[in-house]
């Protein structure tokens, strides 16, 4: 497949990068202390942090991956939003943000240090730092591969140019620059993809025609006719839907463990809320993000559903991969080139490129903060001047980008290494939410409990992976390297179940070990870190309809309605 960009399209692309770099340039003068560079000096209004919160997650994986899932699983993919992300974002806003923003913690690992102990922080900080640079490298690799494939650009040049642009704007303006550019990217994605969805939907004949055209997609794979257009109706048993998961596995694994784990504990997103200019702005950040998030399935999942419907009806939409089966990751690029004429194509393509780069920037800004505060200042060079840490933050930015470039080349040579790393990250992340839940809501939870609970949870995830097998998958990296004990219909179901196992193990271990070990932190030390010991955040002088709880309830009701409409 090939996309041909016109002069106008290139002009649009170049103008975008001029703005991106220009924002970094303007912010340069404001970077006076390490907190300006790494934490935005807690000075950003809520609507900006809110859109950045959303956008930081709107990287390559989201845009490309959700469209691919829309084609593979149909509207069931919306569970990632309407069961997973939204409730987790509301929970973060109402219950967790007061501890992140209210405590003196500058990062999520630092919260763990204040709440538990040094070893728990160390474990989280180091695994997170490694994870972010590798994710950033994977983003970079995916972008360069796409540019090579679609436009015939040179792979190495694409990597170097994209990395250079990201480096410059973060180096100049730090987290603020990354956040501002994420907002820019948010509007690019919305304004670039909306006409694409409009045209594709018109082409397929509207929503009701799409539902009819999705029937043969489902029946040809042996499922009930409505499987691709009804999100809940086929969740009764695991073998009724392409996801291979029943409703309990989906709600518990995806909705509770994975989504809450990601949205509530991943510093990459939480960092955006922590940059807000007040407690109330910090708490409104995830809520503001939740509103567009609710509607995003229309922008990212719907195109995949339309593509598979047109494909089934005989149109060759989704290009075939090397193995002769449809390469679902190419759904969005294929639709861009099918529907958008020169001009708008430039906007759509720029939006796509911007999403890769902001995915990378999000990782780099999270990395430089955790590196500087949680690793460098804590273990390598404590008690230096703030100027020194500002300098270190900049060095960490450069180093993070260089390592990302290295990882990108590594990924292009040894695909398995990247799969392996992502697998290990999965093991580390799965139990994390149990630690935070107990830490924030149970003052008796101890440092030993948290640390060994996390280790145990991670080990149980790895062990489960060794025993679980997805039908048809190769033994090894996909699981079952010990034995084929638990058999699943899809990788997704295997993943959800692994998350449930890891979370439960971590929860039970933390609970038992905490009861068996002595508390090391007094009630006074835990004030502001644990729910029962923290004075309720005063409703600042805002009317009831602007308060987080009210907004949260409204958002949850709207999400429920969406679930019911597309049941």
């Amino acid at each position: 497949m090939h996309i041909k960009l016109g002069v106008l399209d290139y002009l649009i692309l170049i103008v975008y990068f001029v703005f991106v770099l220009g924002i970094g340039w303007i912010l340069k003068r404001r970077m006076k202390a390490s907190t300006d560079f790494l934490l935005s000096g807690r000075s950003i209004p809520a609507w900006v942090t809110g859109l950045a919160f959303l956008s930081a997650n709107l990287g390559a994986q989201e845009v490309i991956g959700m469209a691919a899932s829309g084609a593979k699983y149909g509207i069931m993919t919306s569970h990632f939003y309407w069961v997973g992300a939204i409730p987790a974002m509301v929970f973060l806003a109402i219950f967790m943000m007061p501890f992140y923003y209210g405590s003196k913690a500058r990062s999520v690992p630092e919260y763990l240090k204040l709440r538990f102990d040094e070893k728990t922080r160390g474990f989280n900080a180091i695994s997170f730092a490694v994870m972010t640079v590798f994710s950033s490298g994977i983003s970079l690799h995916a972008l360069a591969k796409l540019l090579e494939l679609l436009l015939g650009w040179n792979y190495t040049m694409s990597i170097l140019i994209s990395a250079f642009i990201v480096l410059v704007y973060i180096f100049l303006g730090g987290l603020t620059s990354a956040i501002y550019n994420e907002v820019l990217q948010f509007f690019m994605i919305v304004l670039g993809f909306a006409p694409l969805v409009f045209l594709a939907l018109k082409d397929v004949g509207g929503w009701s025609a799409l539902k009819v055209k999705l029937i043969p997609v489902a029946t040809s794979q042996g499922f009930a006719p409505g499987t691709w257009s009804e999100s809940w109706a086929h969740m009764g048993a695991y073998n009724q839907n392409p996801m291979g998961a029943d409703w309990f596995t989906m709600v518990a694994g995806l909705g509770f463990v994975l989504s809450f784990g990601y949205w509530c504990t991943d510093f990459l997103v939480v960092q955006r809320a922590m940059a807000a200019n007040s407690m109330s702005a910090a708490r409104r950040t995830p809520l503001i993000a939740a509103v567009p998030k609710m509607l995003f399935p229309a922008l990212v999942i719907l195109p995949g559903m339309i593509a598979i419907a047109l494909q089934q009806a005989g149109g060759a939409i989704i290009p075939l991969g090397a193995d002769g089966t449809p390469d679902f990751n190419m759904t969005i690029p294929a639709l861009l080139s099918k529907y958008l004429p020169t001009g708008l194509l430039g906007i759509g393509f720029t939006a796509l490129m911007a999403s890769f780069m902001s995915g990378m920037a999000g990782n780099v800004t999270a990395f430089n903060t955790v590196w500087t505060y949680d690793i460098y200042q804590s273990y390598i060079a404590p008690k230096k001047t703030d100027n020194h840490y500002l300098w270190m933050g900049r060095i960490a930015t450069v180093a993070g980008i260089i390592i990302s470039i290295g990882c990108a080349f590594l990924a292009s040579k040894f695909n398995n290494i990247m799969d392996m790393l992502q697998l290990v990250f999965g093991f580390v992340n799965a139990p994390l939410f149990a630690t935070f839940l107990l830490g924030m809501f149970w003052k008796r939870a101890t440092g030993h409990g948290a640390f060994f609970g996390l280790l145990g949870g991670t080990a149980s995830a790895a062990l489960f992976h060794g025993l679980a097998h997805t039908k048809g998958a190769e033994v090894g990296i996909k699981g079952a390297w010990l034995a084929q004990k638990f058999i699943f219909n899809s990788e997704m179901a295997q993943n959800f179940t692994m998350a449930i196992v890891a979370w439960t193990t971590c929860f039970v271990l933390t609970l038992l070990i905490s009861l068996a070990t002595a508390r090391t932190k007094t009630d006074a030390e835990l004030t502001g870190l644990v729910y029962s010991l923290t004075p309720k955040p005063k409703a600042e002088d805002e009317p009831w309809y602007q308060q987080p709880v009210t907004l949260g309830i409204i958002i949850l009701v709207l999400t429920l309605i969406l679930n019911l409409i597309f049941w």
Partner: protein, 68 residues
Amino acid sequence: MNFDLRFPIGIMFSFYGLLLSGYGLFTNGDQALYERSLNININLGWGLVMLAFGVAMLLLSRRGRKGE
């Protein structure tokens, strides 16, 4: 100094809007170009939407500055 992000967003999308709608006007009736977009002059239509969005952002940013 407080940097108002609405200003650069407004400038950028007004520019894109003018560029696209201008190009749309210029190429109006070009069947070869708009065949893929189902014979809709999507550059003109969507360019105007982007222009309206950009101008709205600029107005908001101006109102914000006056309020200070």
